[in-house]
Symmetry: C2
Subunit: 338 residues, 2 copies
C-alpha cells in the first residue's frame, strides 16, 4: 500500500486525474485551473450537489470503495435526470483521513470513472483535503436541458397520473441485509456471508443506477411529465415534495406500488411491512413523475413504468389508499440522525 | 439554543433558505428542486469547488461562524475571478454534528448571505446532512465569462510581466497570531486577547475578500492577462502552477514582493523570514497574473497592483532573486497533513 504522503497533494490530484479523457463538447476546460469552463450554447445549465459522509451515508465495513465511487456519481446524475436533463460534468471533492492509501483512492476513482463512462459525464474539477476523521465525499453535477423540456417539482395538475419507474424498497432491504450480516460477523476478518438469492437487493443498495433510460423513453415518446423527482428519500417523502410544490393533493394505491419479489421476501423475513419499506426506504433512485390523464394509454404501453395513483385537489390531502380502501395520510422523513 | 432536531432536515433547509432573494437573471430556478437551473445565454460557464473541514481548514475556537460563512463563499468567488469571470451562483453543502444549534447555522448562513450580497451571487442549492464528527462545508461556485476573456493558467509567455494585487503573507501571520493566543489562553472561557495594532492580520485571516475590484480595473483598462491564478496556497506554489502549465520559467524579485507593515512586524516577533511567509503562507486570495511587457507603463499606473518579476524561458527554471542577487529555486507545498 502506498501512503498518500509519498505523492503530496498536487501529486495525488495529478495521479488520480491524469487519465481523464474529456467526452463532451460542452467541456471546454476540465481539471487543472481555478475553475472548469463549460459551454452549453443556449441550453440551460442544471446544477445539483450531494454530500456523503462516512458513518452517516456509508459504512466501509461492507461498501467497497469502487462501488462507493460509482454510487456517489450516480446519485447526482439521478437528480439531473429528474429535471429531464442530461448530466455532463461533475466536480469531486474528497476529505481523506490517514488510514486511506493511494490504492484506496484509485479504487474510488475507478468506480467514479466507470459511472462517468457509462453515463457520458466528464470529471472537470474538485478538491482534495486531509480529514481528521472519516471519508468525506462532495460531488456537484452539472448538466444541460432544453429550456422548454425542463421538468420541475411544481407542475403537477389535478387528475394527472402519478407514475414511477422500476420498483421500490429493494435498496433499503439491501441495507438491512448488509447491516444484519455485519452484526452477525462482527469481529471476524474477511467475513463472507451467503447472499445467494439476494443479489438484486445488494446491487440496488451498493451499485444503484440512475434512470437515463426512462428519460430517453419518455423523450422518444414525446412525453414531457408535468412534474418529476427522483426517489432518494422514499416514495412518501417525494410525493409530498411534489404535492407541496405543485399545491395539489394525491392518492396512491398500495396495491399498485411496484415491489420486487426479493424485496417482499426479505421484508417478510425482517418482519417489516413491505409497503412501509417502499414508502420510506429511500435510495431507489427511480423516477417519480406525473403526466396528463390523456396520456394514460400511451404510458401504459411503456415497460418499466407503473401508474400508481393520481393527483387530486389540495384540500383532499396526500394519501395512501390501502388494499382494503382505507386512506392513510402520507408522512415524510428526512434524516433523523440528530 | 434551538436543537436542530426540532426542525428536522426539510424544516432546517426551509428555515435557512426561505429568505433567499434571487439577484441574477441567469438564475432561472434556485433552491427547491432536484437541481438549480441556470441560463448564461451564450456565455461560458465556470465551475469551482472547495471543501472545508473542521480541524483542518478552520478552528471554531477562534473563528466565529459568521466569518466562516463569509470566508467559505469568498474563497470560491476568488477562483472565478482568477478566470477573469464573475461568480453568479453557489451551492452549499453542510455536514453538521450534534453540538451545533439552529442559531449556529443561522450565523453561518448570515455570513454566507452577506458575502453573496456584496458580490452579487445567488445561493441556488445544496445539501445538509448530519455528521458524526466536526463541521464539513462544501461549496461549489458557478460563474460566467465571455469566451474570449477567460484567462487560464497556461497562457504566460516569455518576457511577460508577473503582477500581484494587494499584499501577501498577512493571512498567514493572522493565523499564527490566533494560534498563539489560543495556546496562551487554553482552558480559559471567553478569552479576550489584545489584538490592538494587529487588526489587519486578523481581518485577512478571518474575513478575506476576493479581488472583484482588480478584475474590474483590468477590464476597464482593456487589459486581459495572459495567465492568472488566485493566491490560496502561497505565491511560490501559484507561480509554479503558472510556470508548469505555461511551460515557462520565471524570476521574482524578493524586494518587490508586497508586504504590509503589520505582516513584517509580526514575522519579526515570531522570528520568521517574512519573504518565506509571503511565498508559502497562503490564504491571501490576491490575484497573481501575467501581462505582455508592452503594458508595463499602463499597469504601473494602477494602484494596488505590483509588478514583481517576469516570465523567462523554461530552461531557466522558476526562481526567487533575493536582495543580494542570489537565485533560489521556488518550491511548492500543498497540504502536508498526512
Amino acid at each position: 500500500m502506498t501512503e498518500i504522503s509519498t505523492l503530496g497533494e498536487f501529486g495525488l490530484i495529478r495521479h488520480l486525474t491524469d487519465n481523464i479523457q474529456i467526452k463532451n463538447e460542452s467541456t471546454r476546460k476540465g481539471v487543472g485551473d481555478d475553475a472548469a469552463v463549460l459551454d452549453y450554447k443556449g441550453k440551460e445549465t442544471l446544477v445539483t450537489t450531494d454530500l456523503l459522509l462516512e458513518g452517516i451515508h456509508f459504512d466501509l465495513t461492507y461498501v467497497p470503495l469502487k462501488h462507493l465511487g460509482y454510487k456517489s456519481a450516480v446519485v447526482n446524475f439521478s437528480d439531473i435526470y429528474a429535471m429531464n436533463g442530461q448530466p455532463k460534468q461533475i466536480t469531486v471533492s474528497l476529505g481523506i483521513s490517514k488510514r486511506f492509501s493511494v490504492e484506496d483512492l484509485e479504487d474510488f476513482y475507478e468506480g467514479l470513472a466507470l459511472a462517468c463512462e457509462i453515463y457520458g459525464v466528464d470529471i472537470v474539477g474538485g478538491d482534495t483535503s486531509s480529514s481528521l476523521t472519516g471519508l468525506c465525499i462532495s460531488i456537484t453535477c452539472i448538466g444541460e436541458a432544453d429550456k422548454e423540456k425542463i421538468v420541475y417539482r411544481n407542475g403537477a395538475k389535478e387528475n394527472d397520473l402519478i407514475c414511477v419507474s422500476g420498483d421500490l424498497g429493494a435498496a433499503y432491504m439491501g441495507l438491512q441485509l448488509l447491516e444484519r450480516e455485519k452484526t452477525v460477523f462482527a469481529g471476524e476478518k474477511n467475513f463472507t456471508p451467503d447472499f445467494a438469492g439476494k443479489e438484486y437487493l445488494l446491487e440496488r443498495q451498493l451499485k444503484p443506477e440512475a434512470r437515463k433510460d426512462i428519460v430517453k423513453i419518455l423523450n422518444d415518446n414525446q412525453i414531457i411529465p408535468t412534474s418529476m423527482i427522483d426517489v432518494s428519500d422514499g416514495l412518501s417523502s417525494e410525493l409530498l415534495h411534489i404535492c407541496q410544490q405543485s399545491k395539489v393533493g394525491c392518492a396512491v394505491y398500495e396495491e399498485r406500488i411496484p415491489i420486487d419479489y426479493q424485496t417482499a421476501m426479505m421484508a417478510e423475513q425482517f418482519n417489516m411491512n413491505v409497503t412501509t419499506v417502499a414508502l420510506s426506504g429511500g435510495e431507489d433512485y427511480e423516477l417519480l413523475f406525473t403526466i396528463p390523464l390523456h396520456l394514460h394509454d400511451q404510458l401504459d404501453m411503456i415497460e418499466g413504468i407503473k401508474i400508481i395513483g393520481h393527483i387530486r385537489e389540495v384540500s383532499l390531502g396526500a394519501h395512501l389508499i390501502t388494499r382494503d380502501g382505507t386512506e392513510i395520510p402520507l408522512t415524510a422523513q428526512g434524516w433523523n440522525a440528530f
